[in-house]
Symmetry: C2
Subunit: 358 residues, 2 copies
Amino acid sequence: MQRRDFIKGAGIGALTATAALTSNMAQAKTKYRWKMVTTWPKNFPGLGTGANYLAQLITQMSGGRIKVKVYGANELVPAFEVFDAVSRGTAQIGHGSAYYWKGKHPAMQFFSTVPFGMTAREMNAWIYHKGGLELWHELYGRFGLLSFPAGNTGVQMGGWFNKEINSLADLKGLKMRIPGLGGEVLKRLGGTPVNLPGGELYTALATGTIDATEWVNPDNDLAFGLYKAAKYYYFPGFHEPGTILEAMINKKAYASLPKDLQAIVKAACQAANLNMLAEFDAKNPQALITLKEKHHIEPRAYPQDVLKQLKKVSQEVVAEIAQHDKFSKKVYTSYNRFLAQSIAFSKLSEQAYLNARN
Amino acid sequence: MQRRDFIKGAGIGALTATAALTSNMAQAKTKYRWKMVTTWPKNFPGLGTGANYLAQLITQMSGGRIKVKVYGANELVPAFEVFDAVSRGTAQIGHGSAYYWKGKHPAMQFFSTVPFGMTAREMNAWIYHKGGLELWHELYGRFGLLSFPAGNTGVQMGGWFNKEINSLADLKGLKMRIPGLGGEVLKRLGGTPVNLPGGELYTALATGTIDATEWVNPDNDLAFGLYKAAKYYYFPGFHEPGTILEAMINKKAYASLPKDLQAIVKAACQAANLNMLAEFDAKNPQALITLKEKHHIEPRAYPQDVLKQLKKVSQEVVAEIAQHDKFSKKVYTSYNRFLAQSIAFSKLSEQAYLNARN
């Protein structure tokens, strides 16, 4: 380097350092006002309160430097416009689940849940430590978004039925509210999947518009009063074995934060992820007791041969997503490889233990 | 209130407000240097790296306002002096597991794990949302400590054996390294429990000093090379179905932090809790493949009748802790009530799903 260049270089260096320092100090003082749009009714048990918990953590940990205000569905934007609203920066953060956005790309479903797929713990392992999050960021990055897991429902319930399911024949002609891939599985077995918003399930079931509906888990199902409109409660929820609730974040909004606040947002999502599942796991056992003892609901297992066929068709339906494009294939391959390994481990760990203990 | 008192009161109020403001500003500028003492060798996979992760989260989220330096076992204090060191304030935070301190109080074991007890998810549900944490704080408070879950191993493995276990008769005379309540269970079934530090297991097994040893899970067991010293690898680890790793915090050190840093420490523990289990769940399946394919280890299930008897004796041993004092009875009752409810839910949720899928 020539002397003239060196002097010029040093000058620029000093200027840059001063600018950086000023900018850091400005950032440390800046107050951020974030809007969180959600796909849930405000304060909806588990899901909505999980979004509140995330917002509170960010606000508390940042000492109010980021204030997050939570909006229920339709308060700022409708539930199914949350993705677009955060993508274009109308809100800085959103709370939903990736399979709602499968119209943008079918591979999104792998970042929520797929029929006969991974459990909550397996999803966390894949997302945080086996490349899942990188794939998710690759996909959401196309829309100007970052994404982190921020909750989980655990294995859901099979659903509420007014028709007994004794064999595969009973699925034929069954009108059931079951959206997404679970619905596609039912369709291939002769049923008629219907999509209805949560608020309409009770009436549709009570009036016979539908024969059956899935919803979430005992705690959420009890809150909706579905036991009053259906005779049978089936398990397990093969179609949603460990659904991730997501925090999607506008990339520019995230990039504008100083490093400590970025770390706070990220870790708050991880803490909220655990906390939602812990809350569901705490409440579901009591909700189940209430359903049994107060409302005389005796949950029934899907028959073995029905489950076997549901599994076979589920695997076909999930494999078809891989055919959509190169990226879908990449996600499917990563997901399926870890799932297969994880099943082998689960057989001598979680599954073996539960079978010995229960 | 008389006028004189009112004026005096207002004066004190103003002084107090000014003092509080000054103190808040001082607190916001204060840099905290925390020592984290741990019961693990420095950087030990999963457990030690989990402690590192917690320390990093606190340092990053606080923008360096709390700098946490991690010490491995024996660097500052020996492993089993971690509790006392944090209790007296030699270190501000410690990373271990509550059953190590059962000599202080037998009820501590409920905050780690007990044989045939709760899984990782059930522990989180009980601790965070069913009163477990309040009981834990009541106990640790006696020692000037706060405590939070900061990791979990999931269901551990049964252990490494040089003797086949085909019936209860094979447990008689079995010299096995299995500490704590699991050891007590073995003893009542005619075995000889031995306690040895992790570093001595390989040699003890290889030289025949012991017939068997439990350790942690495939990932940790592979790292220790135990497959080279034993013929059989049994599952499931009935004695440790979901062991919590703890962060214990000196109460005065915690109280001296401003509210935002307190929130950071607390949420960092929750994030680290999830992350350790996710990391183990990510690594165990691969470790299992390596054990099988490279080292030709074919894990074996404990026979059904052996498990049945282990369960019966485990329940007796755990129930005896309740006899120690009123507080132990209170913890046992809370734990056992939720466990019973949770088993009923698990049967139609996690267990039913794993049995259908695997």
